[in-house]
Symmetry: C2
């Protein structure tokens, strides 16, 4: 039984008779192959990537598994259509908070048409892509059983400023995310961004690969950042994850590193590091102010 | 006594009645303040930079010392003109080989006019700026007493491809640089690019700062790479140097890293690393082929 993904935060949605991806109950994600060649380019990327022995094993975990393609009834009722069959990344999460971050200070590639370049450039300048080296393309933030998800609309997301992005990266790991802005407590920052195998460590592992790899240039590709706030709140071990998605505009690296992706990734890393170090500072301050004799633990609590 | 700089490899030259920089015998470089506000912007940058306590001491050595500004007779005979008074970087070198590398995959900045952006973008796409994240803006290569310098013309430099750039980075550190291309022996690579305090180590030190600093964004800024081939050949210690120059388009970082500069710098680092590791491999091969029983030393010789 195929259905519309519950946790898709960006891209075309399979609602109101439109074409979009579908998921099943077994953890697979079916993405319709776009007709203008982009779908085939993405399929070709997955095929090349999965068989490329130059990609180290510890990097593969940052990419969804691809199970090839399959003919399926399209969500818009237009009949049978080829779909990419991918791992449904969010299926293992219960109430995932998700950020879709498009990495790079340009989303176009040198070989593209002038028209395409101008269209991308215009959007890159309008959003934080040029200024920050990345933009948030969509997000959902789980705020608890009662309030459910905060999911800003497409227009709101596209109008995010540098200030908004910084604020959202704080809010994303706050227990009081609903109030937003400066008052976010960032109480989950140590357990989500920090700690061993946290988001920051994963980003740094990816960065080390991008400093070296000259196989692919990932244009207009997104980094999904996701975790379960529920499990964090309840004290069970959260599994913060990052995954790269959307490879319709990947081109060959031809011996040059993907400096566009790398620069944006470093910018994101700097932002995440700052949220983390701010949260550590403020938890030290809290410990001091509460006059507890202990020290602050890695998860930001006083001991 | 002011004169036209002997070793200027890019930018406007003070010849044929044109406006350009001058040097004196005491190691100072006089750069005319460009009238369209760029000169004042560069002076303002130097003033801000020199008094900014956030800039660590070990980073200051990568910038020319600035001695303020001075009214001087302009080289084009137009009368008195304000000049930036800077350290003449090459004055301490006898027969310097110099590369002027403009860093970044875009030379424009978000706040610029549409016209300026389109002009820069066109040149960035035409050169290796977009593809490599940097472009060679000029160079001179000392080839010995008899042949003197190889100094390709502006048009040739502007038409450099990725292939040419890679080849020049090899040729730059070769004892047989005059023949160029694949046959470059890269015999100076270990002593210029490699070794402690060599070019690669300096680039990495600069990179670490750029991963963190959010004070300035260096648009259209150049990295000069220079050394004395003569002293290398004669066995005396060479002093390979890197220096950042041209700050007319520096803007405030506003809490964001200069991901554009950083990405290009990482791309250059990868290229330099490759020349270095190729040269080490080939010197190992040479040792093996010459059946010398020894091992290869850091400077690429057999022991």
């Amino acid at each position: 039984m195929l259905k519309v993904p519950e946790h898709q935060v960006a891209g075309h949605l399979a609602i109101d008779g439109k074409l979009g991806p579908l998921v099943d109950d077994s953890g697979r994600f079916y993405k319709p192959l776009q007709g203008d060649g982009r779908g085939n380019k993405e399929l070709a990327f997955y095929e090349s990537f999965s068989s490329d022995t130059r990609v180290p094993d510890h990097i593969r975990k940052y990419f969804p598994v691809c199970y090839g393609s399959q003919l399926l009834e399209a969500s818009n009722g237009s009949g049978l259509l080829h779909h990419l069959v991918l791992q449904d990344i969010v299926s293992s999460h219960r109430n995932p908070s998700i950020m879709d971050v498009k990495i790079g200070s340009r989303t176009w590639y040198p070989e593209a048409s002038d028209n395409y370049i101008q269209k991308c450039l215009e959007k890159d300048r309008r959003t934080t892509t040029v200024s920050l080296g990345f933009r948030i393309a969509g997000l959902q933030l789980y705020e608890g059983k009662e309030s459910g998800y905060w999911r800003p609309g497409r227009k709101e997301v596209q109008s995010f400023t540098v200030y908004n992005v910084r604020s959202i990266l704080r809010r994303f790991v706050s227990s009081n995310s609903s109030i937003g802005n400066e008052n976010s407590d960032c109480s989950f920052a140590p357990s989500i961004y920090g700690r061993s195998a946290g988001i920051l460590e994963q980003l740094l592992e990816l960065k080390a690969w991008f400093e070296d790899q000259t196989i692919y240039h990932f244009h207009s590709c997104s980094l999904l950042i996701l975790f379960d706030k529920e499990s964090v709140s309840k004290g069970s071990a959260p599994v913060p994850e990052i995954k790269l998605i959307d490879f319709a505009h990947v081109v060959e690296g031809k011996g040059v590193i993907d400096h566009n992706f790398l620069g944006g990734l470093c910018s994101l890393i700097k932002f995440v590091s700052e949220v983390l170090s701010d949260s550590k500072e403020s938890s030290i301050k809290d410990c001091v102010e509460s006059e507890k004799p202990g020290i602050c633990t890695d998860n930001g609590n006083c001991q």
